[in-house]
Symmetry: C2
Subunit: 257 residues, 2 copies
C-alpha cells in the first residue's frame, strides 16, 4: 500500500463494557491516531465513544464525529457514507492513521463495512485493517450465564425482523437462536417460546455491558413491555432432536478441549 | 456467595492472537489468581496457554493443568470433568481465586460450561463468573476482510459434521454461513459452493490469529487438501432472496450506526 498515506483501522470496542476492549484496540487508541466515530446527528452523543470514555481514556486532540443518520432513504444514506469516506480520506492523505471506532465487533452488524467499501471505491490505495472484537451476543451469553454453543451445537443469529415463522422453522435446525432487536415482536416471540416450552431455557438482556444493563431470566415478566433497541433474546433449544452427524467431524469436535 | 471461598473465572483468551485478549482478562491474568488450563494429556501442551505465552506474560507460580482427554467415551469424559472440578474446588476452598483459561470465547464451543456445571453440582456455593471474549469467527472475518453480517443479515454458525444437505437448506435462510471444522467434508463443501456459484464469495482460514495462520480466498486451491482442525469457511450468500421483514424492526436496524 501507499506509505505516503495513513491507514484506516476499523477498531472494535466491544458491546458496552470497557473491560471488553482488546489489548490491540487499547494500544491503537493510545497510538496518537486520529479517532473517528459514528453519531446519528451533529448534536447526538456517540454510543461507542461513551464506552471508551468509561474506560477513562481521554479523547485525543485529533478526533472527528462522522454522521450516519437514522433513515431508510438509501440515497440519503449513500450521501452520508460518501461524506464520511471523504472526511477519512482527507485525514489519511495527511499521513495520519485513522481509527473508526465500532461498538461490538466491526464485522458484525456494523457500518464499518459500508464505510470501508466507499473509501476503497474512492481510493483503492488506502490500506484498511479490521481489528476484531467481542460481539454483543458473546457478552450477553457470559452475563446471562448461558452457553451459546457446546460441542456439536448449531447457532443462528437473526434479527427479529424476519418474524416468528422463520424462528419456528429454525427450531428444528438449531440448538441456540440469538434473536436481535426483539422489541417489535416481543409478545409474539414469548408466545412462540411458551408454545414450544422454551421459556425456561431462554433469557433476555438489554444494553449488555453498560451501566444500564438489565438481564431477565423469567421471561413472562416481559409481556406487554416496550424494551430498548439494544436488546436480545438467547433461546437454548434443548428439545431439539439432531440428525446424524459425520463421525470424523464429531471425533474432531471432542478433541477440542 | 461464600466469602470463605475463592471464585472461579472462565477467562476467554480469544482465538490465538494475544492482542485479542480483553482488558478484563488481562487484569485477571495479573491478579495473582491461580491459573488452570486444559491439556489433552499429561504430556501435551496447552493451546490456550500458548496464546498467553505469546503475550509475554509470565506463567504465575500457582498454575495447574487440567486434563480433558480426546475421547468419545462419555463415562471417561465425565470422570475427567469430575477430576478437574475437584481440583478447582480444592483451590477455591483455600480462598484462592481460580482462572480457567479458554481459547476463543468461553460461551462458544468450549469445555468451560461442562466444568462449571460439574463444579456447581458438587458445591453450589462456589461463585462462577464468565469473562466473554473474541470468537474465532470474529477474528476470521476481520482477517479475511469479510463481513459476518450487515444490517438485516441472518448468520448461522455450524459444525460441518451436519453434512452438506443441511447447508443446502440453510442457504435459503441465511446471508452468512460459518462452517466450523470443515476438514472431513471439505471437497463436498467446495462442490456445493461451486454449484451455487458461491466460491468467489467464500473464504477459508486456518489457525486464525496464530503465527501459523493461513487465509485462502481462491478456494479451488484447497481441493484434495487435508486441512487442520482449527479451520473454518465463511460463506457470504449474496444470491439469497429475502422474505418480507417487519418494518418496525428494519427501522430500528438502520438506526444502528
Amino acid at each position: 500500500m501507499n506509505p505516503m498515506k495513513g491507514k484506516l483501522y476499523g477498531v472494535s470496542i466491544g458491546p458496552g463494557d470497557p473491560g471488553m476492549i482488546t489489548r490491540r484496540a487499547w494500544e491503537l487508541l493510545q497510538s496518537g491516531a486520529h479517532w473517528t466515530y459514528p453519531v446519528k446527528s451533529e448534536k447526538s452523543d456517540s454510543f461507542v465513544l461513551d464506552i471508551v470514555r468509561r474506560s477513562e481514556l481521554p479523547l485525543p486532540e485529533n478526533h472527528t464525529a462522522l454522521i450516519f443518520p437514522m433513515t431508510h432513504d438509501k440515497e440519503k444514506l449513500a450521501r452520508y457514507w460518501l461524506r464520511a469516506a471523504e472526511a477519512v480520506i482527507e485525514i489519511v492523505q495527511q499521513r495520519e492513521d485513522v481509527l473508526f471506532l465500532v461498538e461490538g465487533d466491526a464485522s458484525s452488524y456494523s457500518t464499518f463495512g459500508h464505510l470501508a467499501r466507499t473509501i476503497t471505491a474512492l481510493d483503492s490505495e488506502i490500506e484498511i485493517v479490521t481489528i476484531a472484537g467481542v460481539s454483543s451476543f458473546n457478552l450477553a451469553a457470559a452475563n446471562l450465564k448461558m452457553s451459546l454453543a457446546e460441542t456439536d451445537d448449531a447457532l443462528a443469529i437473526i434479527p427479529a425482523s424476519y418474524g416468528v415463522k422463520m424462528f419456528d422453522r429454525l427450531l428444528t435446525e438449531f440448538d441456540t437462536l440469538v434473536l436481535l432487536k426483539v422489541n417489535p415482536i416481543l409478545d409474539q416471540l414469548l408466545d412462540l417460546l411458551e408454545e414450544h416450552k422454551l421459556l425456561a431455557e431462554s433469557a433476555f438482556i438489554e444494553r449488555a455491558g453498560t451501566p444500564e444493563e438489565r438481564t431477565v431470566h423469567d421471561l413472562a415478566r416481559l409481556r406487554g413491555e416496550k424494551v430498548g433497541y439494544l436488546s436480545l433474546l438467547i433461546v437454548r433449544n434443548h428439545h431439539r432432536v439432531r440428525g446424524p452427524r459425520i463421525r470424523g467431524c464429531r471425533k474432531a469436535t471432542i478433541q477440542h478441549s
